[in-house]
């Protein structure tokens, strides 16, 4: 089971790194989302994987009796999901606002804060809105 999870996490991280290396900010954002989900799976895996053993205290018992699955990683993941949801939704709005204000999603062409010589400005590549229009 751990081996399968390791492969799943590895593939997810590889995919997210591929997306993060893109110049299109929306892909970068999807890369971050994929990465944070991969990290959540890491937490689940290192906490120990068990099947069908909820960490519930029985009707008569006072304390949790073994065997049970580790509840702490679940608490950690829940926290991480909530925090990640807030951050990522903010980032999504920020990227959309950036597209409205700056007129591009190409990170190489966002040079307002750090201006460069217009001659050195890279040519527009992969403008999603325009390619859709062309199609």
């Amino acid at each position: 089971m751990e081996i399968v999870m390791a492969f799943v996490i590895g593939i997810m991280v590889a995919g997210s790194v591929y997306l993060l290396l893109s110049r299109n900010l929306l892909r970068v954002l999807f890369g971050v989302i994929l990465l944070s989900n991969a990290v959540n799976l890491v937490i689940l895996t290192v906490g120990g994987l068990t099947l069908g053993l909820p960490p519930l205290i029985g009707p008569e018992a006072k304390v949790l009796e073994a065997p049970y699955s580790n509840p702490l990683p679940q608490a950690l993941i829940l926290t991480a999901i909530v925090i990640g949801f807030g951050l990522l939704s903010f980032a999504l709005v920020l990227v959309y606002r950036g597209y409205q204000e700056l007129g591009t999603l190409d990170s190489d062409r966002m040079r307002v804060a750090e201006p460069c010589d217009p001659a050195e400005m890279p040519a527009p590549v992969g403008e999603p809105a325009k390619t859709r229009e062309a199609a």
């Binding site: 990290v39 120990g48 053993l53 049970y68 699955s69 951050l87 903010f90 700056l102 307002v112």
Partner: protein
């Protein structure tokens, strides 16, 4: 009682933020609440430092859950000093915000978000739990996103996108590192981790996780080669936001490195701390060269933030009591100076009407007194004696010579020299040179109330820099006490986990029972 004192650096700004949010439509009231909250935080920080000085390391168990199970908050000398100095910056910035922040930025919640940022910063300083540190980092991160984008100019959105993208990746790698560490040890309490990591046999895995932490905290601290988000974003938001970011945010990353790499990851110092020595030298060089390459005053100071992070990492990397004391001294000095510089740059823009050094000038003639006040942080940045920058650099240099690390000593001296060049250039361009268009107005042209709000924080922080320089010995004693605690983690572990044998492994074991139906 002492538990309340330890929690107060989180509770006070949290309550202030809540009160500010309740007074949503009434901006003048928000300003007063924000200032009052910052002053209260300062009092709490001072009391906490006095308490730690008298009683040693103080730990508080939240909800009375014993140490490795619940969340522990710990105040030692380092944490208390950081809370105190952060509170001083909050006071300075809250006063400055009376005079210089656009009304629409205030209406959209500058004050509550600013106080929430302080919650995250102070929480990071006093937490004793690694996952809790992650949560405080996130509180800090989401507030900094909001402060950075508040106002929504094109420049800000551009900077905020880069800041957000890189910090989200740093957050993910931090969480990954925390998860792997939990997998190795079954605990997230820092003191418990310090004990359990010694028993872990796979030292290679521990070192790998340590390097993941260097990447995560290094990205927050803006070290080479992970600093590119900082010069891209720090000069874009409102002046008070720039000042508090430059003063505190990167230093929280440095604090986290100082904490984890003296308490938890001390198994293979030759590799981890050796790596950090390289990072330190390259950070200094990259930062100072970047600051010399730009003509925008705020961007030059942003690059200087990067450069001086290198000195603190150098102190940590040398890993001797003197070097750690130097790093702590440098933290205190640098927080004051960087906040002061950004506030000063804001005032200079107001008076000369520009951010670019080529289009500024004539300030010495217009306001000689302000020039003197601003000379203090500039000179301290370059390390002129007897200001705070000189003593902190001297201690680090002495430590590096004792450790016979001559290369880093040479690099730190060269970077100091290049910083002096930058300071000379800023002095000549901003103060001595005549203004290219028209003579700038003096501070007398600003309305009296606003003038006081703008100048008072500069005077306060410059006076602090002079005071730290003239009375360096008491500051050095506190830094040395912090370094002693960091170099010998036994009292810290005892304060958190109690005396005697380490507690049994958490009930939730690392290896759950393998039961197959």
């Amino acid at each position: 009682m002492s538990a309340w004192l330890v929690v107060s650096p989180i509770l006070v700004p949290l309550a202030t933020a809540a009160l500010c949010a309740l007074a949503w439509g009434r901006v003048p009231l928000q300003r007063i609440i924000s200032l009052a909250g910052s002053v209260t935080l300062f009092v709490c920080g001072a009391l906490l430092l006095a308490h730690v000085g008298a009683n040693g390391i103080t730990a508080a168990q939240m909800s009375d859950w014993p140490a490795p199970f619940g969340i522990t908050l710990v105040a030692d000398h380092l944490a208390a000093v950081m809370v105190l100095i952060a509170a001083v910056m909050a006071v300075a910035v809250a006063i400055y915000a009376f005079g210089d922040i656009a009304p629409e930025r205030e209406r959209f919640g500058f004050h509550p978000v600013f106080q929430t940022l302080m919650v995250g910063v102070c929480g990071s300083f006093i937490t004793g739990d690694l996952f809790n540190l992650y949560v405080w980092f996130e509180v800090m991160l989401i507030s900094s996103f909001m402060l950075l984008a508040l106002g929504g100019t094109r420049e800000q959105i551009d900077g905020a996108i880069k800041y957000a993208a890189l910090n989200l990746i740093a957050t993910a790698s931090f969480l990954m590192a925390v998860a792997l560490l939990y997998g190795l040890t079954g605990t997230l309490n820092m003191a418990d981790l310090a004990l359990r990591l010694r028993e872990v046999e796979q030292t290679g895995v521990v070192t790998t996780v340590a390097v993941l932490f260097i990447i995560a905290f290094g990205m927050k601290a803006a070290v080479f080669p992970l600093f590119f988000w900082l010069p891209a974003s720090y000069h874009t938001p409102a002046i008070p936001v720039q000042a508090i970011f430059a003063g505190l945010l990167t230093k929280v990353g440095v604090y986290a490195l100082l904490r984890t790499f003296t308490l938890i990851f001390v198994g293979d110092t030759a590799w981890t701390h050796g790596l950090m020595l390289w990072i330190a030298g390259l950070t200094m060089l990259a930062g100072v060269l970047g600051s010399l390459a730009v003509t925008d005053l705020r961007r030059a100071f942003s690059w200087q933030v990067v450069a001086h992070i290198g000195y603190m990492i150098m102190g940590l990397a040398l890993y001797t009591p003197l070097a750690i004391a130097g790093a702590v001294f440098y933290l205190v000095h640098d927080i004051v100076v960087k906040t002061n510089l950004f506030l000063g740059a804001g005032l200079a823009r107001r008076l000369t009407g520009h951010d670019d050094l080529r289009s500024m000038g004539g300030l010495f003639k217009a306001t000689p007194l302000l020039a003197v006040v601003m000379f203090v942080p500039l000179a301290s940045l370059a390390g002129f004696p007897p200001l705070s920058g000189f003593w902190s650099k001297l201690v680090l240099l002495q430590a590096s010579l004792e450790k016979e690390a001559y290369v880093i000593a040479a690099v730190s001296l060269i970077v100091g020299l290049l910083t002096m060049w930058l300071v000379g250039r800023i002095w000549a361009e901003l103060f001595w040179k005549a203004h290219p268009v028209a003579d700038p107005q003096g501070t007398a042209a600003i309305a009296p109330g606003t003038r006081f709000a703008l100048v008072a924080p500069l005077v306060l922080l410059s006076a602090m820099t002079v005071a730290i320089g003239l009375f360096a010995e008491p500051v050095m004693q506190v830094a040395a006490a912090a370094a002693t605690e960091l170099m010998d983690p036994a009292p810290y572990i005892e304060a958190v986990l109690g005396k005697g044998e380490p507690p049994p492994t958490a009930v939730v074991g690392l290896e759950p029972a393998e039961v197959r139906p």
